[in-house]
Symmetry: C2
Subunit: 506 residues, 2 copies
């Protein structure tokens, strides 16, 4: 479980309201109550029917929010009064007294650990408790698990496509579904293998490392070098007098244009001024976006200011490319950096970073990892363009000790009855071989002992498997109203970006 | 503006945090501050570059959230302390004192009214104030406008495809990006022309009418008629003794099977029990989902219980179809209802509603409006599958009285410099003809006076237009830190689902 270990400063955000559910849950709860069945013990399973993104796995996320929601589940007097106005007028008044007293003290949840690789039709959670209460929780739990797991899985796929070295920066705030869509995206992308976020609130709440440089508006806010004056910067080391960075950068620009045989007229003076001003503010963190006007202008200005910083003993950090063909441009930028490193005798030009942030998707990521050091991903990550929803469902499997199932004409929509046990079988190298569902009261599979089982969808031909290791996947995460502390990870659980790869080989 | 009039019980939800922004905004603010430019008056425009869904318009939404965010914008001591840890260590300490004092008292926003039809590259909002402050607001405003406008536009497109009569029910809670993604979807879908939501919290917060019946788990929780016993229902009118609804429905089922020449063995007893129990709880709101097992079973059981209710003087409401080919099935269901109406002399069967809720998209909506009375839309509405993000941007157009623009090699990404006036020109019938952008200090267009203007993207060939009416589109919605009360609607603004059609004809 990556999140709890990494997120050192988790604060409790606002409570998820208990009315965040679909009206039909209250209609059903009233039906159970009217039939005096509301206290019958029941169990629901939460699962998805097919792996997202036409892929081989999903990562389970959102569990922490679920247990927090369950812990706080209670309807206030005002909320119940509202429900009285929303339900039909012939609803019996005693039902509202019942709602007013409800909480999750009778509810228990078993779940796979947050961050685990999970597979189609294998339940992520089992929610048990009084029938009417566990019914009411359906929509809220689905809301908290569906998107969290989807975006975490999406992030893991970006990580797989990027390889282990490329730095991945989540920057989807402006494209997400409002404030907590964006915060869920930041957190779950981090769990899924991203390194950084631009979302300051996500850094504040979850302790995710932040990144961010400057945008085009900063560049376009300058029109001439006068606006950057006075702009004096002391040398990085030693007590030397501050140097006028405007004059120094003018001189550096001449040297750069001469070395690269470029025309100084290509340079937009406002852009140069913006770079100078930014470098003066953050001389050790100079990483501007260089394509506000044209690559030619931005690259010359960058090299001039970077050279000035090098002269003063600072180490410029790199450039950001935000438009056009990032792959082609990054090759050109590297070539120019090499020329400058040699021409000026400044090896720091060789270790400059190139960050790309233009419309990056899982599909075009692989080609970038050769020449680019970090990419920022917004839209395609947070809106999950390849599949913008995960279809988790929440199905009743047992009530009053009796297994239940939905048998439909569509076999995909049929459910598996009864409460179960869930085990991950591992081979001798510790790699997951399969996840085994069995009847709850069956003895668990034993290490080194051959067992026969049926692959889902291929029930006619049983297979044999001899697990080297057996891990019980479900943990008690919420027992009779009490959240349990986080539990250690299990093999096959995502702990670092690298391990996503092995999980996905399943 | 549909929202303020309809939403009678708007409560103030949780505050949008002021740190909900991208880190680079603080980096830029520091750059402005270091260059002593942070107080320079500046103006940004917020707009999208192309109409979403390859369509002809968008509806602007999210404005109310924006003004609320601006009104509460302030960084706490703890938030500033966090920023100190997140920004480079050489950031000047006085910058943090400056951040601690920041608010939006110097900020003014002009915007088109919420719910207006809006078009590519025509600014939705102009945000002016001190350069560093209006820069800091960028990401938060984009987050609040982008998804709200996208889902509102999507809802309007569903309404256009559905025609004016079909009831549209938003049910996307479980597929949205968490709690406030779902709440934004409910509110903006309502503004865009939906009639109802299933999201109880959205009803509670915004006063949106709720709908909801029962789900499959209610059906599968019953296995035999004994579970519904005892189940006594008094006649609707008059003081007659309560009737045993189980026995009555058994008898009704025989009559239904006989009339329809169907085999009673097709009926799942648990489903019949669930319907009986639901009907006993809500005899005047009986509208069950009928395809938990098979249409044959569900339809026979429904007719049996509906007939029983009719016998007792109640009016059953209808059925919900949640799988398969909704169009084909609804034709069959209508046929059965007609047969029952005639065969039992119960005309109430003719006015039963059919509600469809299976994977409904804009594309398959039109064919449903013939036989179906209401549809529930989840995934395709709230995730906007056809285009899951709106690409609003926020561009600097003026600083210190000087127009600014971004001129790039990609003409689409170039901006129009300077502060502007924005007018909607209407023809003699009151229909919008075009939206006119002009320089802020130009005299506004006059009614009945011909003017020449350039169509965006076709700058070489000016056109002439003589407006019959002129409406200034931007209203002051936030002036020097103070939100202004809602203003009356303008022509071309969406007020009812019907008027979406005329706006979209533009």
């Amino acid at each position: 479980m990556a999140a709890p270990e990494r997120a050192a400063r988790v604060r409790v955000p606002d409570r998820v309201p208990s009315l965040l559910t679909d009206l039909y849950q209250f209609t059903m709860a009233y039906g159970y109550w009217s039939a005096r069945r509301h206290e019958e013990p029941a169990a629901f399973e939460l699962f998805f029917r097919s792996n997202p993104f036409q892929g081989g796995f999903a990562l389970f996320c959102g569990l922490r929010e679920c247990t927090r929601f369950l812990g706080g589940f209670r309807l206030s007097e005002e909320e119940v009064r509202y429900l009285r106005s929303a339900l039909p007028p012939d609803t019996h008044p005693d039902f509202f007294s019942y709602l007013r007293r409800l909480d999750c003290s009778g509810v228990t949840v078993r779940a796979v650990p947050e961050g685990s690789a999970a597979f189609a039709r294998v339940p992520l959670m089992e929610v048990s408790g009084p029938l009417a209460v566990v019914q009411l929780l359906e929509s809220s739990l689905l809301c908290l698990v569906n998107y969290a797991s989807l975006v975490c899985t999406n992030a893991a796929r970006f990580r797989l496509a990027a390889g282990p070295k490329l730095q991945l920066l989540e920057m989807g705030l402006r494209r997400a579904q409002g404030p907590d869509g964006s915060l869920t995206a930041s957190l779950c992308a981090y769990i899924g293998g991203f390194n950084l976020t631009t979302n300051v609130q996500a850094g504040y709440l979850f302790g995710i490392p932040l990144a961010g440089t400057i945008g085009h508006s900063y560049i376009t806010s300058f029109s001439s070098l006068e606006e950057a004056e006075p702009c004096r910067l002391p040398p990085a080391a030693g007590p030397g007098p501050p140097v006028d960075l405007v004059s120094l950068s003018r001189a550096s620009l001449s040297r750069v244009c001469h070395l690269l045989a470029e025309d100084r007229a290509k340079v937009r003076e406002g852009e140069l001024a913006a770079f100078v001003s930014y470098a003066a503010a953050y001389p050790s963190n100079f990483l501007p976006v260089i394509d506000s006007y044209s690559m030619a202008s931005g690259l010359l200005s960058f090299c001039a200011v970077a050279l000035s910083l090098c002269e003063l003993g600072y180490k410029p950090r790199g450039v950001r490319l935000d438009s056009g063909d990032l792959c082609r441009q990054s090759v050109e930028v590297r070539r120019v950096f090499r020329t400058c490193a040699e021409g000026f005798g400044k090896p720091d030009f060789l270790s400059l970073s190139i960050v790309g942030t233009n419309n990056i998707s899982e599909c075009n990521l692989e080609e970038l990892s050769e020449t680019i050091d970090a990419v920022g991903v917004g839209t395609h990550l947070v809106t999950c363009t390849l599949q913008p929803s995960l279809g988790c469902v929440y199905k009743l499997v047992e009530v009053a000790g009796r297994p239940t199932m939905k048998v439909t004409e569509d076999p995909e929509k049929s459910t598996m009855p009864g409460r179960k046990g869930l085990y991950r079988l591992l081979d001798a190298r510790g790699h997951p071989a399969l996840d085994l569902l069995c009847v709850r009261d069956e003895p668990p599979p034993r290490e080194g002992v051959e067992l026969r089982c049926h692959l889902l969808g291929q029930e006619r031909n049983p297979i044999s498997v001899t697990p080297a290791h057996v891990v019980s996947l479900w943990r008690d995460v919420f027992v009779q109203g009490q959240p349990r502390p986080s539990l250690p990870t299990v093999p096959g659980t995502i702990t670092t970006p690298d391990s996503v790869a092995s999980a996905a080989q399943l």
